[in-house]
């Protein structure tokens, strides 16, 4: 059974399009995250939700909008895609709010390529 799953795994699209990436976890965790990994492999947090409530919103363009319909799902919608959005996007989850103490479990990543 997949603990943290993401769809799609690959996404190729044109500049200016709008796209969504979906994430689901079946671990019963309360906290979920979105990370961006750039071409140099640098991994940086974008958003974090706890039980459907936004708790971390790093300096991310407002073209990126996370949505959590329930605590098992955290989707990422990106409007007006730009070339610089090309990256691997990882979803992760952890048991609770005290994430400094909780292990984060990662999804397989979604490789986004904007042409």
């Amino acid at each position: 059974d997949t603990a943290v799953s993401q769809t799609p795994k690959y996404l190729v699209t044109q500049m200016g399009n709008d796209k969504s990436i979906k994430c689901e976890q079946n671990l019963g965790h309360d906290t979920m995250y979105w990370y961006k990994q750039d071409s140099k492999k640098f991994l940086k947090i974008m958003f974090s939700y706890n039980n459907k409530e936004l708790i971390i919103n790093e300096t991310v363009p407002n073209r990126f909008s996370p949505k959590s319909p329930d605590k098992a799902h955290l989707n990422l919608h990106i409007n007006s895609l730009e070339l610089g959005d090309s990256a691997v996007y990882f979803c992760a989850s952890s048991l609770g709010l005290a994430s400094i103490q909780e292990t984060q479990y990662f999804g397989p990543g979604t490789r986004l390529l904007v042409l």
Binding site: T31, Y33, K40, K41, F42, L43, K44, I45, S48, N50, I55, I56, V88, F90, A92, L97, A98, S99, I100, Q101, E102, T103, Q104, Y105, F106, P108, G109, R111
Partner: protein, 116 residues
């Protein structure tokens, strides 16, 4: 400011040998966990080991162990009896200085090559 530093962008080791990957961090937390994650070519981020900062004993998971020195804020990963499957990018992670308690900061990674 970068709060997690991995000073070795690349390392290589012979199969069956031992290698140590270094990591230093800075945090304002007094009680925290530290993590090493592995990212093989498959891209999956896999937890290798974690250390509880209030424990003096170094964490060990099979061939993987850490050398945790809290005062020096150093958290190195030792891989013993290296195997070809250990080849991957390794990331160290810690809570950052100040700001939210609810996130981790990752280092820039060390690419480990295992030579047969």
């Amino acid at each position: 400011a970068q709060t997690v530093t991995q000073s070795q962008p690349e390392m290589s080791v012979q199969e069956a040998e031992t290698v140590t990957l270094s990591c230093t961090y800075d945090t304002s937390e007094s009680d925290y966990y530290l993590f090493w994650y592995k990212q093989p070519p498959s891209r999956q981020m896999i937890l290798v080991i974690r250390q509880e900062a209030y424990k003096q004993q170094n964490a060990t998971e099979n061939r993987f162990s850490v050398n945790f020195q809290k005062a020096a804020k150093s958290f190195s990963l030792k891989i013993s009896d290296s195997q070809l499957g250990d080849a991957a990018m390794y990331f160290c992670a810690s809570p950052p200085i100040g700001g939210s308690n609810y996130k981790l900061t990752f280092g820039k990674g060390t690419l480990l090559t295992v030579n047969p």
